[in-house]
């Protein structure tokens, strides 16, 4: 991963074409959710060691936001999917 990312739209491209935002697991709460839920969403991270899901954007390509599922110790990538597809799931 740290060298190449396989964009589902553009194919395998160098990592420099992509921008990383961060953890893709927190889901934006409804505006009616509790203060705790919002604090959790904006500030708290499980920060696991191992399998993680991250938001990356192919900024120098299709400009789609992607969910990259990978191992943050071995840097192996398990899957790269379009984030919008993820949301529908």
């Amino acid at each position: 991963m740290a060298s190449l990312i396989s964009c589902p739209h553009c194919g395998t491209r160098p990592k420099e074409e992509f921008a990383i935002r961060g953890d893709a697991t927190p889901l934006r709460p409804s505006s009616m959710a509790s203060d705790e839920a919002w604090h959790d969403y904006v500030h708290l991270r499980t920060n696991p060691r191992g399998r993680v899901r991250e938001h990356w954007q192919h900024v120098a390509g299709c400009r789609r936001w992607l969910v990259v599922e990978r191992d943050n110790l071995s840097h192996a990538v398990f899957s790269v999917t379009d984030a919008a597809t993820e949301v529908d799931r």
Binding site: L4, W38, V42, H55, Q57, H75, V77
Partner: protein, 985 residues
């Protein structure tokens, strides 16, 4: 000291003589020499000084692990310090200089450190130089710094260029020795795309220095045949002079090709070095094995080298390391070296084998000492003899070189760069590469297969496995018939007992046996602690030669196995890589791309001074006539806008066009202010927040149609806002039917501001833009004379009657020129971002100088914009936090200097009059400041604690950094036209 060129032999071109110099002395060598072999051929054994004790040092190896023979190659601006003479290809006119010595290599004052060695034990500096405290920076540290370091650089600019390339292949073979050639050949014949990288300038690896015959011929002939076939295979790329230095994620390899480091003349059209990023489906690590030095007393004296180096110099370069070479070995390799040297007619003083029960026989006439060792060496800066221990008896043996063989270590560096730890093999007494999967497979000596026959077989078999893994049929490879090969076994000898003088483990950093003992005694026995405490393995060779012995010694001292001691971490780079090659072409003026506004030419023609603004060059001011300072120009431009009119290029603002039935809903969630009811044909100022409630960016939102919006962003945040919107549309609310794209580059946009703006503008616009027809905040398409369509927005950053006119980028300059002509009779001028800044400060408008990422809308006086009635928008929920609504937050205010000649500058802090400066007493800071030509006084925008309650207060504008303190009055941040009468005129 009697190294010399052999009368015949070697792979050098004796018909081609090359002149070079070392420390000013003119010498000569041959094509095919390295600098090291040429120095040896000229009997120059003393080539460097060690790091700590400045001990005289010679050449130890014939390859990239060299710890001692570091020299500066080149002169003037083309000097390369710390170049390993053992890999530097000799060329005509090469200028080499020795390092870390003063005044000369032969007589080095620094060698006095050697006499003090007992005081300079490992880590001594942690224990002293503490008193008096002030002496560290003044006395001790400068002394240490001067004594330390190796080569010199004056940091003068580099005249050469570098480049980078990507390469893709099915198989990367690292190393062109027997295993690498076999692997490459099988893969090539099987149709794989193959890259064969070799750090040496000549391909062939050990086959170039090997004497065991292949198919009855010298091994280099076999190598040449294979290379010919590879060379003629269109699917094979041979990369000599290319070191694979790093193994990165996804099987991407970093490699450095030395394109023009082997000649005095540099072709400026070509790079001197090329950085390769090689994406390899598979790779075979055929990097061979490293021969270990032996740790005996006086083992650092010039003339002591590894046995394989002595053999390589003799066989490949036709150079004898000495006239009487003593060989010290713990295994069969020493016998092979003895045989090779003897075959070349080189005298052998003795063959000393540490194994009492060794079975091998020495070549005829060579004195063999079984169960013996070297415990000391004699001589000055050159070897004259050794003291051999023979079962308790000491023998002084005259010799002028020592060839030592301490066994073999597979070169597994690359395989351990991604977290895998080396695995100890008791059988091989060496660390082997961990299993790192099918991406990178060691083969041959790198996998512990030391015999030539095994190397061929291993390389071919592992390549065949890869071919089959890629779904192809593996082609055959007929291994050559290998002549008689000695048994590669050895008995580990981590250090020689009974050393009579310092026995060095890490040559360059002067780490000796005693240092490791001290480290263990003091509790630094962990391999990482020992490294860091003694600096062993931290020199430019990164412990390639010495670490294995250090591990064995630590193991012995701690009474454990080397497996338990383990290794330190292998990290890139395998061998050092220049900044230049890693940086490539994106440096200096090309560090970042340049963006120019479509009105750049117009601005230049009108005399603009440009300034970097992110990637853009923006026009700062337009000097006229007699104006000598930027202030004169800016003041005039401001007055002109306030009194007549001005034209400013605002094309760099981000412009994003938004479409779709849900476009309004989408924007309503992105901006903190309500936008659903924005009428078609109208613009509105908008604020975007981050989810944490802080202002993210500001700009305008114009509704061009029911389902069509155009938004602007600040210049700096254009990219960030687009990404943010894409995230919102694709991830947060993919159900919203909205599409948008950046049109920043499609439009030239200019602001026409000032009381006469409408008159001037009307003269080029067909449509009626009277106040009634085109009121404040109107935004719609207009037709310009000549039938060009543009977009007109009646918005104002300056506080004047103002418009922003956007036209297709290609028409920008023509329209700007037309406007300038139309404005001429009305006194219109071109104005730049400096004047724009003054105008907006006078009007109390904020920019990113105010909106610095820590500011809420309320802090900026824009709290009223928050659409508190909206169900949701980004930043809504966290805006309510206690800290964001606290009464003592710093709020935007204006400041007027009490004296017109007083200075106020952004970055100053605010203090209550008479208060002592302290962090607690700090009342805020000045975010923007200028001299206001309109008010004729210095004014500023500032953030002041509870500022809005403090209008009228006299406050100290505290700029101690620049030694300025100014009294100012706190006021409302809008200095000009507070009731907006100009905007709606």
């Amino acid at each position: 000291m009697t190294a010399y060129r052999l009368p015949a032999g070697g792979l050098i071109d004796r018909s081609h003589t090359l002149a070079f110099s070392f420390d000013g002395k003119s010498l000569s060598g041959h094509a095919g020499d390295t600098l090291a072999s040429a120095l040896l051929a000229n009997d120059r054994l003393l080539v460097g000084r060690s790091f700590k004790y400045h001990r005289p040092r010679g050449i130890v190896t014939a390859g990239p692990s060299e710890p001692n023979a570091l020299v500066t190659v080149g002169s003037g601006v083309r000097r390369d310090p710390n170049t390993k003479a053992t890999v530097a290809e000799l060329y005509d006119g090469l200028v080499a200089t020795s390092q870390n010595r003063w005044p000369s290599l032969a007589f080095d004052i620094g060698a006095v450190n050697g006499l003090m060695a007992r005081f300079l034990s490992a880590g001594f500096y942690y224990k002293t130089f503490m008193w008096p405290a002030a002496f560290w920076e003044k006395v001790y540290e400068p002394l240490i710094r001067r004594a330390a370091g190796l080569g010199r650089t004056d940091l003068s600019p580099d005249p050469d260029s570098y480049e980078k390339s990507w390469a893709h292949c099915d198989l990367l073979v690292v190393g062109s020795g027997p295993a690498g050639l076999a692997a490459a050949l099988v893969a090539a014949r099987s149709g794989l795309r193959v890259i064969l990288a070799e750090q040496d300038f000549a391909l062939g690896g050990t086959l170039l220095s090997e004497t065991t015959r292949l198919d009855g011929e010298a091994p280099y002939i076999f190598a040449r045949r294979v290379l010919d076939e590879l060379q003629n295979s269109p699917n094979v790329t041979l990369l000599p002079r290319t070191t694979v230095f790093g193994w990165y994620d996804d099987n991407v390899f970093g490699a450095l090709e030395r394109v023009q480091k082997h000649g005095a003349a540099v072709d400026a059209v070509k790079p001197v070095e090329r950085l390769w990023r090689i994406v390899a489906k598979h790779a075979i690590l055929a990097s061979g094995a490293e021969e270990r030095p032996l740790v005996f007393g006086g083992n650092d004296r010039p003339g002591v080298m590894t046995a394989s180096a002595a053999a390589t110099y003799a066989n490949r370069f036709g150079v004898a390391a000495g006239k009487a070479v003593a060989i010290f070995t713990n295994g069969a390799s020493g016998y092979r070296t003895a045989r090779d040297l003897a075959a070349q007619g080189i005298g052998i003083a003795a063959l000393i084998d540490s194994r009492p029960d060794a079975a091998e026989a020495a070549p005829a006439g060579v004195r063999l000492i079984r169960g013996g060792s070297i415990i000391d060496t004699r001589g000055g800066a050159g070897l004259r003899g050794i003291v051999a221990d023979r079962g308790g008896f000491e023998d002084l043996i005259a010799c002028d070189a020592v060839a030592m063989s301490g066994g073999w270590s597979p070169v597994i560096h690359l395989a351990c760069q991604r977290g895998g730890r080396p695995v100890w093999s008791d059988a091989l007494q060496a660390f082997l590469a961990p299993d790192v999967g099918a991406g990178l497979v060691p083969a041959g000596a790198a996998a512990g297969q030391y015999r030539l026959s095994a190397c061929f077989e291993d390389g071919a078999r592992k390549a065949a496995d890869i071919v089959e893994a890629l779904g192809r049929q593996a082609a055959g490879f007929q291994a050559p018939v290998v002549g008689e090969e000695p048994d590669p076994s050895f008995t580990a000898l981590w250090h020689v007992p009974g050393a009579k003088s310092k026995a060095f483990v890490d040559f360059q950093n002067d780490v000796h046996l005693g240092d490791l003992g001290l480290a263990v005694r003091e509790g630094f026995g962990h391999v990482e602690h020992a490294k860091r405490y003694t600096t062993g393995g931290m020199a430019t060779d990164q412990g390639k030669l010495g670490n294995i012995n250090a591990i064995g010694i630590l193991a012995a001292m701690r009474g454990v196995s080397p497996a338990e001691v383990g290794t330190t971490t292998f990290r890139p780079f395998y061998t050092p890589v220049s900044f230049g090659a890693l940086a490539g072409t994106s440096v200096g003026g090309h560090a970042m791309p340049v963006r120019r506004s479509p009105l750049h030419g117009w601005a230049a023609r009108n005399g603009a001074t440009f300034i970097e603004a992110g990637l853009w060059y923006r026009s700062s001011w337009f000097a006229k006539g007699e104006e000598k300072t930027w202030r004169e120009s800016v003041d005039r431009e401001v007055r002109s806008v306030r009194e007549n009119a001005g034209l400013c290029d605002v094309s760099t603002l981000g412009k994003i066009e938004v479409f779709g039935p849900d476009a309004a809903e989408f924007l309503n969630r992105l901006y903190c202010n309500p936008l659903l009811k924005l009428p078609v044909g109208k613009a509105r100022y908008g604020l975007m927040l981050r989810e944490d409630g802080m202002v993210f960016d500001d700009g305008t939102v114009s509704r061009l149609g029911e389902a069509h919006f155009l938004i602007t962003t600040t210049t700096a945040m254009a990219g960030g806002v687009l990404s943010h919107m894409e995230f919102a549309a694709q991830v947060l609310w993919p159900q919203l039917r909205v599409r948008f794209l950046s049109v920043s580059d499609q439009w030239a946009q200019m602001s026409i501001a000032g009381p006469k703006a409408r008159v001037i503008l009307q003269s080029i616009v067909e449509d009626d833009i009277s106040h009634a027809a085109f009121p404040f905040l109107a935004a719609r398409e207009v037709r310009l004379k000549g039938n060009l369509k543009g977009r007109l927005f009646r918005i104002s950053f300056s506080g004047e009657l103002a418009y922003e006119l956007a036209v297709p980028a290609g028409y920008g300059e023509a329209v700007a020129d037309a406007l300038m002509r139309a404005g001429l009779p009305h006194g219109m001028c071109a104005y730049g971002v400096e004047a724009l800044n003054v105008l907006r400060i006078e009007k109390g408008h904020v920019t990113h100088a105010e909106l610095d990422g820590r500011v809420t809308p309320d802090d900026a006086g824009l709290g009223h914009m928050m659409g508190t009635g909206k169900a949701d928008f980004i930043g809504k929920r966290l805006s309510n936090r206690f800290g964001l609504t606290a009464a003592d937050r710093a709020q935007l205010v204006g400041l007027k200097a009490l004296e017109a000649d007083q200075e106020m500058r952004a970055g100053a802090h605010l203090l209550k009059d008479g208060a002592k400066p302290s962090t607690i007493n700090d009342q805020g800071w000045v975010s923007s400041a200028c001299f206001s030509p309109t008010l004729r006084m210095p004014i500023a925008l500032a953030f002041l604690k509870s500022g809005r309650e403090r209008y009228g207060e006299k406050i100290v504008v505290w700029d101690r950094l620049r030694g300025v303190e100014t009294m100012a009055e706190v006021c409302h941040p809008v200095f000009v036209d507070p009731d907006n009468s100009k905007l709606t005129a």
